[in-house]
Structures are given as structure tokens and as C-alpha cells.
């Protein structure tokens, strides 16, 4: 039985194709302005590359902020449930999931059978989200993909005191102006986001196994900063960025 999960986030659109419990295919593309176009393109590519016919797919589940735009979806499920199901696919005994997305970050607790028992998300503010990292990367003229390696070279992370993305950017620009190294600033940015994540985790009470999903999980500096603050090892599946789409495909077969 083939099922497809399509996760349309604010920055990227992800797709996963599953045959019962076997992961067949995943892909990631930028969402851009036209969300409908984003999922249609990634869906067509998947059909082409896997040789799958649309009529052979028994269930398509959409998730993410653009889930409403997927006209062919049989079900629409929120990303909270999908990230939890995706994390439980890779780590069946997972107790908590953290995900730093483009416009929000979330911390989810699970009841042991892969279903959500509670969740907490960031306040209505970009601080502590993937967007925050984007803004900082632009201010520092550094590729986001280099953040992890540069964090590793940091000798003394700076302290980012501003709670607001806009003010934090000004703070970072001031640091650049006074000659602070980009490595130290990047490490400080990671610590600032980690602090926000850990305060969310404390509100909800997380325990291990703790899984990190989403694209930001590829950033080693970010992972290390969270691990240091929470004192728990983060489990990160190779397909962390597409966990929401995988979870959607799994829930489509449930």
C-alpha cells in the first residue's frame, strides 16, 4: 500500500513516499511564493523518479502551514502529529521531539506509542526559529550550511541578549563593527536559540529518548548547543528534514 506525505513549510516543501512501513523516496524543494506550484512540482518529480502512478497511491496526507493548498490530499494533519509520527518511525520508543522550523519551533512529548501527549511552541516571534538563523546568516554574510563548522571553531561564544530577531540582528551588526569573530557570534546565536528551546522543553518537561527533526537539525553547532543546555543526547535521523512528510505518509496508512 503506497502512501504519500507532503509537508509544506514556510521555507521548504518536503515529500515522502512509503510502501506500508518501508520508506521509498524523499525529496525537498523550496516552497517559494506559490505553495500549490511547490507541491505539484515535487509530487510530479516523485512520480517520475519512482515510476509510481497516482492511481496506485492509496492515501495522500498533507501537513505543514500550506497543507490546505494540497487539493489532492485525502487527509490534512497538523505538523505536530506528523513530526511525532515521523520521529517514532525511526525511534519507536521516542519520548520527546524538538523541531526548529522556518517560522516556529516546537517541543512535543509522546505517550510511548508514537502519539502526541502535549506540545509547546514558540511565542509569536521569529526569535528561536529557522528564520532567525536566516536573518543572522545574511547579517554575517555566511552560508547557513557553514554555521555548524564555524561554530566548532569558536573560542568564546558571545552573548546575544536581545529577545527580538530584529534587535538581535542590530546587536550582531554591532558585534561585527567592534571586531568580534564570526565564529564566536555564530556560536552565540546557537546558544541563544538553544536557550529558548530549553526553556520551552522545561515548560513541557521532556525526557529521553529525545529526537530532533527538521532542517536545522543538520546544523551540528545548533545540536551541540541544545545538548549542552538540556544535558541530554539528541537523536537525529538522517532524514530529519523530511520527518514531517514521513510522519504524514505513515499516518496516511494508519
Amino acid at each position: 500500500m503506497l502512501t504519500v506525505g507532503i509537508d509544506i513549510g514556510s521555507i521548504t516543501t518536503k515529500i515522502a513516499l512509503m510502501d506500508k512501513t518501508k520508506l521509498i523516496y524523499t525529496d525537498v524543494a523550496f516552497s517559494g511564493y506559490d505553495m500549490a506550484r511547490a507541491w505539484q512540482d515535487i509530487f510530479k518529480t516523485m512520480l517520475l523518479k519512482t515510476g509510481t502512478k497516482e492511481m496506485d497511491i492509496s492515501c495522500i496526507v498533507s501537513t505543514g502551514y500550506g497543507r490546505g493548498s494540497v487539493g489532492i490530499a485525502h487527509k490534512k494533519i497538523t505538523e505536530i502529529s506528523c513530526h511525532a509520527a515521523g520521529a517514532a518511525y525511526f525511534y519507536p520508543d521516542v519520548k520527546a521531539v524538538i523541531d526548529i522550523g522556518g517560522q516556529d519551533s516546537k517541543c512535543i512529548t509522546l505517550n510511548g506509542s508514537g502519539t502526541v501527549s502535549d506540545f509547546v511552541m514558540n511565542d509569536k516571534c521569529a526569535a528561536g526559529t529557522g528564520r532567525f538563523l536566516d536573518v543572522m546568516a545574511r547579517a554575517l554574510h555566511v552560508e547557513l550550511g557553514d554555521f555548524g563548522a564555524m561554530d566548532h571553531k569558536s573560542k568564546k561564544p558571545v552573548i546575544i541578549s536581545s529577545m527580538c530577531t530584529v534587535f538581535a540582528e542590530s546587536e550582531v551588526i554591532s558585534m561585527i563593527a567592534r571586531g568580534e569573530s564570526r565564529e564566536n557570534i555564530i556560536a552565540g546565536i546557537h546558544e541563544s536559540i538553544a536557550s529558548r528551546m530549553v526553556s520551552m522543553m522545561n515548560r513541557i518537561g521532556v525526557s529521553k529518548p529525545l529526537v530532533m527533526t527538521g532542517g536545522v537539525s543538520r546544523n551540528k553547532g545548533m545540536r551541540t548547543a541544545i545538548e549542552k543546555k538540556i544535558g541530554l543526547k539528541l537523536l537525529v535521523p538522517n532524514e530529519a528534514q523530511v520527518c514531517g512528510a514521513i510522519g504524514a505518509a505513515i499516518l496516511g496508512g494508519a
Binding site: 502551514y65 494533519i77 497538523t78 505538523e79 505536530i80 502529529s81 517560522q103 516556529d104 502519539t115 502526541v116 501527549s117 502535549d118 506540545f119 509547546v120 511552541m121 511565542d123 509569536k124
Partner: protein, 347 residues
């Protein structure tokens, strides 16, 4: 009948005194569809946006009102009194120091404050606020409260959209009370004939910051949640209790305010928790939606204790922070839908 406006961020104001003075009490609720730019000249933008909206309304509409009274609700109300004094054109602006505590000394003080307010009204407007007029106003108020209790109780058994209930709660504090009674009587007949509670809605208890515009209620509806209980000032706090019709009416008003569901501006906060617990025992709900308006300090301070206790008691609960905007925020809808998914999987 002329309108007498009041600025009250809770349910502190004794409307019956205004009714007895021959005016229609009109609660200032701001207008989320109007920019706060006028108020932002005098109040910093990190102060509660609802309070800035009220100031904007005050500056624009004060000539429609014979006077304005403030009550001690949240600290924002208190500290805005002086700003209003300078920037809102009115012949009568008065501040009633309604107490935060609920004990003998506080109630004695409250009674003196109400009597002082009555004297000021009588002197300024050359009216006589007699015991008979107050008693009649209390009787009318009680009729409103009784009808609203009946209407509100129908929320858990009939298909009453969140926004329909909310629209009535707004009318309660802005309409002429005699006309309001007629309207509520008609609504009661109408609502009794509505279809039963829909299967695709989850009943929830709604708490947190006061909701002053219907779009917030529509967000709940979009997410498949139906508020069947609440403890809001535009809601059950306004009509949960009757005012005693025995003895001195001013004392009865003071006594009334000691019995109503408590807002977060009062101490201790256990009283608010007890009320919510009693609601949850009376009416089965699938969960609790605890929403706070950005920069709403009293609720921000109450939140950790209240949510911690409600969760400890085993209730499924979501906390959401909302902006002061009529735009349906998809981020909020998404969070509420996630909450609904949790509820449905746990049933």
C-alpha cells in the same frame, strides 16, 4: 437614552449606578479594525494593544458620551487615567478604585468608593440616584444575567457558533438594558430551536485574556473547537452571579463583586482556579484553551500557576498567544488544530 462610557478591563464597574442615573452604560471595547496610531502617540506600543485601542476609541468618540468612568482593573487601566485626562475630551472623567483584595477592609473601601462616585454623578449631572432607582437597575441587571445564563448553558447542547455567543456578550455591555432584555428573550426562543451540538466540534473551556472581537472566536471555530464554558468578562464573569435584591443596593453591589468569577488582577489567584474547576465539574469538555493577548501582563503572570495546576489536575490544555488583529492567524489555527488532534486521539 444618553451613553455613559466606562473603561474597565475586567468586570469591575457597577453599571447599575449609571442606569439609576438615567444613562445607558457603554463599555469601551476599542475597535480592532481601526489603527491604534492615534493612541500610539501617547502610549508606547509594547503596552497592551487593547488598552491602546480603547484610548483610540476614547479620543474619537468621547463627544458621544456624557461622561467616562474608569475602574481599577489591570495596572494599564490605572496608569492610563492620566493620559485620558489630557488627551480625551470629556466633561466628566472619574476613576473608581475598585479593590484587588476581597476582605472586610477592601469591601468597606469599595462601598465608600461607590458612594463617592454616586455623589459625583449626582452633583455633576444634577440627578438623584435613589435607592429605588438602584434597586430597579439591579432588577433589570439580574434579568439580563438570568437570560444570559440560560443562553450560555445552551452552548453545550445546541449548535451555537462561538461568534454568535460572543456577539451577545458584547451587546450586554453596550446596549440599552431594556432593549437588551427583549433581544435576549428573542434569542433564547431562537437558540432553543437550533440543531443539537455538532459532532464535528470539540467542546472546550475558554479562559485567559478578555476577547473583545469576534474574529478570535472564529479562529476557534475554524479549528473545530466550540467554547461551551468560559470565565471571561465578556462572558460568564458578567452574568454568573445575581446581585442581591435585599437591603441596601450599594452594599449589594459590593457583595456582588466579591462573588463573581475572579479575573487575574485579583488576589489570591486560587479563587480563579476554583471557579474553573467548578466549571469543569459542571460541564464536560474535551480540553481547555488558555489564550493570552500579547502584552497582557495579568494573564502572563497568572499563566504558569494556572496552567501548571490545571495540568496537574489532569486537564488537556493549550496555551496560545494572540496578536491584537482581526486577521485569522493560520499559525494559531494550526496550533489549535494540533490540540484538537491530541484531544481526538485521547478520546
Amino acid at each position: 437614552m444618553k451613553l455613559f462610557a466606562y473603561y474597565d478591563t475586567g468586570h469591575e464597574f457597577s453599571e447599575e449606578i449609571i442606569m439609576a442615573a438615567g444613562f445607558t452604560p457603554y463599555k469601551i471595547l476599542g475597535d480592532v479594525h481601526v489603527s491604534n496610531d492615534p493612541a500610539d502617540r501617547y502610549v508606547h506600543h509594547y503596552i497592551c494593544p487593547f488598552s491602546r485601542s480603547c484610548l483610540t476609541e476614547g479620543m474619537a468618540r468621547s463627544k458621544d458620551w456624557v461622561g467616562i468612568a474608569f475602574c481599577h482593573g489591570c495596572d494599564t487601566t490605572n496608569n492610563q487615567y492620566d493620559i485620558w485626562k489630557y488627551h480625551v475630551k470629556t466633561d466628566f472623567l472619574y476613576w473608581i478604585n475598585t479593590p484587588a483584595k476581597n476582605d472586610l477592609a477592601a469591601n468597606t473601601f469599595h462601598e465608600k468608593e461607590l458612594r463617592r462616585f454616586i455623589t459625583h454623578l449626582e452633583n455633576h449631572f444634577s440627578v438623584e440616584i435613589t435607592q429605588d432607582k438602584l434597586s430597579h437597575a439591579i432588577q433589570t441587571s439580574n434579568r439580563v444575567k438570568h437570560l444570559m445564563r440560560e443562553l450560555a448553558a445552551l452552548r453545550s447542547v445546541k449548535d451555537i457558533p462561538n461568534s454568535a455567543y460572543h456577539a451577545l456578550t458584547r451587546k450586554c455591555v453596550q446596549m440599552n438594558k431594556e432593549e437588551l432584555v427583549e433581544l435576549l428573550e428573542d434569542k433564547l426562543k431562537e437558540w432553543k430551536n437550533l440543531p443539537v451540538f455538532p459532532a464535528d466540534r470539540e467542546p472546550v473551556l475558554l479562559t485567559g485574556s478578555d476577547i473583545t472581537y469576534g474574529e478570535v472566536m472564529e479562529i476557534l471555530e475554524t479549528a473545530g473547537l466550540r467554547a461551551v464554558r468560559d470565565d471571561l468578562s465578556l462572558g460568564e464573569r458578567y452574568f454568573a452571579q445575581d446581585i442581591s435584591q435585599e437591603g441596601d443596593p450599594v452594599k449589594a453591589l459590593v457583595d456582588y463583586h466579591t462573588r463573581i468569577p475572579q479575573p487575574p488582577t485579583k488576589i489570591p489567584f486560587d479563587a480563579r482556579l476554583s471557579y474553573l474547576e467548578s466549571c469543569l465539574k459542571e460541564t464536560p469538555v474535551s480540553g481547555i484553551v488558555y489564550q493570552i493577548l500579547k502584552f497582557c501582563e495579568p494573564h502572563g503572570l497568572d499563566l504558569p500557576f494556572m496552567t501548571g495546576e490545571l495540568k496537574r489536575l489532569g486537564h488537556t490544555l493549550i496555551v496560545i498567544e494572540r496578536e491584537y488583529t482581526p486577521t485569522v492567524d493560520q499559525q494559531l489555527v494550526s496550533r489549535l488544530e494540533s490540540f484538537r488532534e491530541i484531544i481526538q486521539r485521547s478520546l
